[in-house]
Symmetry: C2
Subunit: 354 residues, 2 copies
């Protein structure tokens, strides 16, 4: 199986190292100033500071929904696509889905006594952080396949739902559904209120995200496009048709795959796209090439205090975490894409605090 690039790119070892050694910085205390004011109540984007990014979003919606505008977009063509990890919620210090896979190893271990002595499982089962830090991509792949397949689609959905309800972010100690960026939720709602269909287009697992997307983003399963495994139609003991998850990748929804899969699922180009890594580049290009008005936004992680700082913000154009290389930054500037500074553009990052 080829593993989705974003899901397991070269960053994974560095990410795991970061994760294993991660400290818990002081959590910012909630401030009363973060409460919506009377003015904010009529502002569709109250968690955004005034500035070019917020203005670009407001202008885009106004331009494309005004029938008198030459850049008016018909209702059926109002499509907005959002990357997930690092764009709509936290991707540091490690993708939530990798944490899920590690936790699944622990839960499945009693049924697999051989894992006590068999790498890479042994490292996870015994909590051997030194060994986990040396995991290769192949190791992660083996763990993902062992924990994500050989069950029905319904069973997998239940496992993810259960995990989402209890697993907590290692630094912020909050359940993952609370690690979503409040400003992005506002943009999604604002777009939907103006006739846009919002899609998550993620390098992560399609079924993983579908398990919680309605609750977290208000987005139904048919508007989640992600990396997907093959399924096999079979019959259960009652003779009913079920789908078993196979250890074979059908869609690698990253990079060029995002443009290809958006077309596969929707049959149209988006008019707005939001991302944060090089794996989102083609999605933004594909959106801009739709002609007429379009909106392309990249999230720059430059707020180590309230969230994380990585990518160009760290002066590390070849930094592999988050994979926002200088080339992407340059393309954004050349093409008029909006680069959001989390530090400056976002008044509040999480609903529970600054």
């Amino acid at each position: 199986m080829k593993v989705p690039t974003k899901f397991l790119l070269a960053s994974v070892l560095f990410v795991i190292l970061t994760f294993l050694g991660c400290s818990k910085p002081t959590q910012p205390s909630p401030s009363s100033a973060s409460q919506p004011s009377a003015v904010a109540a009529v502002d569709p984007l109250p968690s955004w500071n005034d500035g070019p990014a917020k203005q670009a979003i407001l202008d885009f919606v106004k331009t494309t929904t005004d029938k008198a505008s030459p850049k008016f977009v018909a209702a059926g063509d109002r499509i907005a696509t959002f990357d997930q990890d690092g764009t709509t919620w936290v991707e540091q210090p490690i993708y939530s889905q990798v944490l899920f896979a590690f936790d699944r190893v622990g839960e499945l271990a009693p049924q697999h006594p051989e894992w006590k002595t068999k790498m890479p499982f042994k490292a996870v089962v015994t909590g051997d952080r030194e060994a986990m830090a040396k995991f290769t991509l192949k190791d992660i792949e083996v763990i993902a396949m062992a924990t994500h397949t050989g069950m029905t689609t319904e069973t997998f959905q239940s496992l993810v739902k259960d995990w989402m309800a209890k697993a907590k972010h290692p630094r912020f100690d909050k359940p993952y559904p609370q690690m979503v960026y409040q400003p992005m939720l506002e943009v999604m709602r604002y777009l939907r209120d103006n006739g846009y269909r919002t899609y998550i287009v993620t390098g992560g697992g399609q079924d993983f995200v579908r398990a919680y997307a309605q609750q977290v983003y208000g987005i139904p399963p048919e508007q989640i496009i992600g990396s997907a495994l093959d399924t096999q139609y079979q019959y259960n003991q009652e003779g009913q048709g079920i789908l078993m998850r196979d250890p074979k990748l059908l869609l690698n929804n990253n990079g060029a795959g995002k443009a290809e899969d958006i077309y596969l699922f929707i049959g149209k180009r988006p008019k707005a796209a939001f991302g944060n890594t090089d794996g989102d580049r083609q999605m933004l290009e594909f959106t801009q090439a739709s002609g007429g008005a379009s909106l392309e936004i990249l999230v720059l992680h430059d707020d180590a205090t309230r969230e994380y700082a990585y990518g160009p913000a760290q002066g590390l154009p070849d930094n592999k975490v988050g994979t926002f290389p200088q080339t992407l930054y340059d393309e954004a500037k050349a093409k008029g894409w909006i680069v959001i500074s989390m530090k400056n553009d976002w008044k509040q990052i999480f609903a529970w605090g600054k």
Copy 2:
């Protein structure tokens, strides 16, 4: 490339033979009795005769949309899937997409002088019906790949749109968009009026159907699920992202593939499904196993005068045209699926005549 089973099943040779030798029976003359009456104006299914099939559809909608009903279905779960060829429009004497491919050979021939002497193209270019009648599946595959790939997704859409506007059904001499079954259009509209999302789930090409589905069925591209080729993200001369159609099958949307792809695209099981061949069996099973109320309908082609008669209606359980074998008929009866008799259940088949 593996070719979708339904698209090119063992029937294809017989179908071609039928096509090549097809006569044009007398066209039924429009009758004033087919005009909607005052009563029909309030009937959501005016082209249906009263009977168990019509009643089952009315009951299903009532039961699943009545909040007081124990079988009420929430708005987000109201999903109805329709096979296309033979279910929503005519599939005899040959699939429209095969006709499209043959016509494309003729149009492309000047750019391919080698086709004059190279089979299988030579047969199509020279109109050699005897040779065409001997086409193997591989021949059809070669023609499909040569005529459906090596172009952008936008170009392909335009080609299909142009063809749909001019190509006529060989027997009825009407453009294909008029070969749609009026009773099925009424069911689609009735379901949509009651909060159902209607999908086409076809063994035919996804992009082929998307090119006309909005016009013909009122169904947007994101609700068309079909057999799909891989695409490759590339850049055009202006540096814009485009998708090139590759001669590689990504989704074979037939049989088990229909259940698998419905889940891939929608993430849920349908509550209603409509088909007419063995390739729709798993879709109907998958729908019924959703639990609660569900509706499974098979179209039986038993009206040689107004349309065609094939499958069990001909007393040919192993008949390969339309592939409605006795086993499917038996499963339908055993599981309480509705088998529509076109002859008895449909008052009017086409909008332009009886």
